[in-house]
């Protein structure tokens, strides 16, 4: 019917991006926006449970708070090292980038390990979910066992919120590992999975949780196969956005879950 006359220009002539930045960065910001609603829903569920429960328990002793403070310190330090990694990447010092990324991952891993230790401790003391098997030979503290019995919302929200955050930190470490080491990281990840799986006793939730690393290894392998490219400074920056977000979420969870439920105050 109609004759089609198209006026074409040179390739890649686009309107300037609305936010004056590259697509990957916008994509990550959008993901973080969505993820903040995911966490928002969890925090809402926590607040809902807490407000609707009379006599919300405050069982955390100074040992838990000390531990959580160290965890927080590790996470804050990791944000600093992440900033240094981004800064090094701007100057093109890729070797320094890798070093700072590995430091960030080490801090993140330390956070997860400390958190795992805290979980195991609380579970053995009797703060537990119905499905967690009993810890053999544990000295159950009456207080935590009472909390579990009278306010099941307490362990549910505690384990639910912190598990979701721990998952984000773990995936963040994997993410940074892929950015820093790419293919070399896959065998390391598989090694970490084996260690986490075999080194935890069968009654520990981490025995099963370790399989997250196996799933991550599979997904990472697929992504590296689909996009086998060298990462540049923009990828470091985008990874940094994710890492800082995970850090920021902890800044909500730490006071809400720990500080507001502590015995010291």
């Amino acid at each position: 019917m109609a004759d089609v006359a198209v006026q074409h220009s040179v390739p890649a002539a686009y309107e300037p991006s609305l936010f004056g930045t590259y697509s990957k960065k916008i994509g990550m910001w959008l993901f973080l926006l969505s993820d903040s609603l995911t966490f928002g829903a969890l925090l809402y569920a926590y607040s809902y449970g807490r407000i609707s429960t009379p006599n919300w328990p405050t069982p955390f002793h100074s040992s838990s708070i000390m531990n959580a403070t160290f965890m927080t310190a590790f996470l804050l330090t990791s944000s600093l090292t992440m900033v240094l990694a981004v800064r090094a990447s701007v100057f093109g010092h890729m070797k320094a980038v890798r070093g700072w990324l590995l430091a960030t991952m080490a801090c993140g891993a330390a956070f997860v390990v400390l958190h795992g230790r805290e979980w195991s401790h609380l579970i053995s003391e009797g703060l537990t979910l119905p499905v967690f098997p009993a810890v053999p030979g544990a000295e159950t503290s009456k207080e935590f066992a009472d909390v579990t019995k009278t306010v099941p919302q307490f362990p549910a929200t505690f384990f639910g919120l912190t598990a979701m955050h721990m998952l984000h930190v773990t995936l963040g470490v994997v993410y940074l590992g892929v950015v820093a080491l790419r293919r070399t990281f896959v065998p390391i990840l598989l090694g970490l999975w084996l260690v986490a799986w075999l080194a935890t006793p069968a009654y520990s939730p981490f025995h099963y949780g370790a399989h997250v690393l196996l799933i991550a290894a599979v997904v990472v392998s697929i992504i590296l196969w689909l996009k086998p490219k060298v990462y540049d400074s923009s990828d470091i920056e985008v990874a940094g956005l994710y890492w800082h977000f995970v850090d920021l979420v902890w800044m909500f969870i730490f006071p809400l879950v720990y500080l507001m439920s502590t015995r010291i105050i």
């Binding site: 109609a2 006359a5 006026q7 220009s9 686009y14 993901f31 809402y44 362990p155």
Partner: protein, 577 residues
């Protein structure tokens, strides 16, 4: 920071698997979504057929299936709703047509993140398989409705389908959330970053605006549903009590306590109400596009249309409480939710009046896409008018658990959106497959579907006002409900005919793919960018080039121009208005 080039020049793939299965091309992914939705819609329609049969012949022995038990009816209802809302109304207009035409309409070679695009389709596909698997596990499909209200959905001994079937249902929904999140951020980034030179925001076709706002809604809503689903899985499998209060099931005290079923409703409907707009906004975009094109007039009030879409999207997040008037709500909250809900009527009315303004005094070309666009407006108005009734707590409380609500949401969200999908199919089929669909079959399809739709869903309003309860599997045993059976019988027969008519569409679709008349590059004499490129479009949409846009999307019958339309890519010298 300077913007960098955004070209995602992945080469045209070779080999069947990379070209058609794990394709990175947004057009192939769009078709994959479309055919997934097509499969889903026939599954969902078959389930509704079984429901309609059971409602009027509750003890009928069906071949292969046997007699439908009351609990099976609830499973059918659940799966019909879930399949239709997620895998049809969300998948076809956004995943299907949005994927195929959003990049082309803005002059982009592909989506911003092609790999993510592929992953989001395949995640949706797996989610669909997981959902269908629920039919075949012990206990069968869940019976907690598409809204999955706790504690019914949170306890595995609360009903026959609530064992593994319910876990599969939640897993499917969670996977669908992840897939939709990936899709949504891809759509938004593409629209922000990959618009061709001259394609300013106020030159975007209204379809693009609709897909864009829909993607924002999806981005913000699905994350919440994901959390809600995870907590539900924890309740079911780890023994937590987020949604379960102290409850006795079959005389047995459950181990849960302290949770609140209202928490689920809040989280679910915070997602659920935007989801309604996720389903209908793309239909609005398509209707605007088609009404303007076939009226040969600029869309009436383009800017108002854009602002109305944005306003509907924004208000959509503030009204979830109107689904919960029945659940026990402070009258103050109910008042606030009611007021917000009523105010959605304003942008909706703006859209409707602008559609009518577009049609006013036009020399309308009544091709099949246009018929469905007019049908869309008709259904949107008919379904929308019952909205203000339900928005008021005093009226909602007697009407909420009746067929009135079923009629309301099927007209406005279900069939109106389906008409958008049909209109889009008839309109873009020539571009997608290079052939025209048969016009006569399309008209027969349209007439039967429109009349049939009204015949099925209008009586529901009367049934509702007469007090007929929804979700009941049979009315033969209740005296006052039995009197309404003749109307139910009429609706069932209307449904059989309407469902049968969809086979005409199916035949037309596949027959035209191979046997239809060859289509030219711009058979409808439309102005947007997809009609400037070859049919079907080449791998990178514009043959390695990027179009330059000089005009708005709806410049029809511009004074002083010899043709009755100005392509968006026509030279700027043609007068703009």
């Amino acid at each position: 920071m300077a913007t960098t080039a955004h070209v995602h020049a992945h080469a045209a793939p070779q080999g069947f698997i990379r070209k058609y299965i794990f394709s990175l091309d947004h057009k192939v992914i769009g078709l994959q979504y479309y055919f997934l939705a097509l499969t889903a819609v026939f599954v969902g329609m078959f389930l509704s057929l079984l429901m309609r049969i059971h409602l009027i012949w509750p003890t009928a022995q069906l071949p292969l299936i046997g007699e439908i038990k009351p609990e099976t009816y609830l499973s059918l209802l659940t799966m019909h709703g879930t399949i239709m809302v997620f895998f049809v109304l969300t998948t076809a207009p956004q995943g299907g047509f949005g994927n195929y035409f959003l990049p082309i309409q803005i002059g982009a070679p592909d989506m911003a993140f092609p790999v993510l695009n592929m992953l989001s389709f395949w995640t949706t596909f797996v989610a669909f398989l997981v959902l269908i698997a629920a039919f075949f596990v012990a206990g069968g499909a869940p019976l907690h409705g598409w809204t999955g209200y706790a504690p019914l959905s949170a306890l595995s001994n609360s009903g026959p389908g609530e064992q593994l079937g319910a876990d599969l249902w939640i897993t499917s929904i969670a996977l669908f959330c992840v897939a939709s999140l990936m899709g949504a951020l891809n759509f938004i980034t593409t629209t922000l970053d990959l618009r061709a030179k001259g394609m300013t925001l106020m030159r975007l076709p209204l379809t693009v605006w609709a897909w864009f706002i829909t993607a924002i809604l999806g981005l913000l809503a699905f994350g919440v549903l994901l959390s809600a689903g995870i907590l539900l899985l924890l309740d079911r499998n780890l023994g937590t009590s987020f949604y379960v209060p102290l409850v006795v099931v079959n005389g047995q005290l459950m181990g849960h306590k302290g949770g609140s079923p209202l928490l689920w409703q809040h989280l679910f409907w915070f997602f659920g109400h935007p989801e309604v707009y996720i389903a209908i906004l793309p239909g609005m975009g398509v209707a605007s596009q088609l009404l303007s094109t076939f009226s040969r007039k600029p869309i009436f009030g383009y800017r108002a249309m854009v602002y109305a879409i944005v306003a509907i999207g924004l208000l959509g997040f503030m009204v979830w409480g109107h689904h919960m008037f029945m659940s026990g709500m402070s009258p103050y909250s109910a008042f606030a939710f009611s007021l917000m809900t009523m105010s959605i009527g304003v942008p909706s009315a703006i859209k409707t009046f602008n559609w009518l303004g577009t049609l006013w005094g036009a020399k309308i070309r009544l091709h099949s896409p246009m018929l469905f666009a007019i049908g869309f407006v008709s259904l949107f108005v008919s379904g929308g008018l019952s909205g203000p009734f339900l928005a008021q707590p005093v009226l909602d409380i007697p009407l909420h658990d009746t067929y009135f609500v079923v009629g309301h949401f099927h007209l406005i969200m279900g069939v109106a959106a389906i008409f958008g999908i049909f209109g889009a199919t008839y309109y873009w089929f020539p571009k997608m497959f290079g052939r025209m669909m048969d016009e006569n079959l399309a008209r027969i399809h349209f007439v039967i579907t429109l009349v049939g739709t009204y015949a099925i869903f209008m009586p529901m309003h009367y049934l509702g006002m007469a007090g007929q309860t929804r979700r009941y599997s049979q009315f033969t045993e209740v005296a006052y409900q039995t009197k309404l059976l003749p109307l139910q019988t009429f609706m069932s027969y209307a449904a059989f005919i309407t469902i049968g008519a969809q086979l005409i569409f199916l035949f037309n679709l596949f027959w035209s793919m191979w046997k239809g008349a060859k289509a030219s590059d711009n058979p409808w004499e439309a102005t947007t960018l997809e009609w400037t490129t070859a049919t079907p479009p080449p791998h990178d949409n514009f043959g390695g080039l990027t179009p330059v846009v000089n005009h708005g999307p709806y410049e029809y019958n511009v004074p002083g121009v010899s043709k009755d339309y100005v392509m968006q890519t026509d030279p700027a010298s043609a007068p703009a208005h």
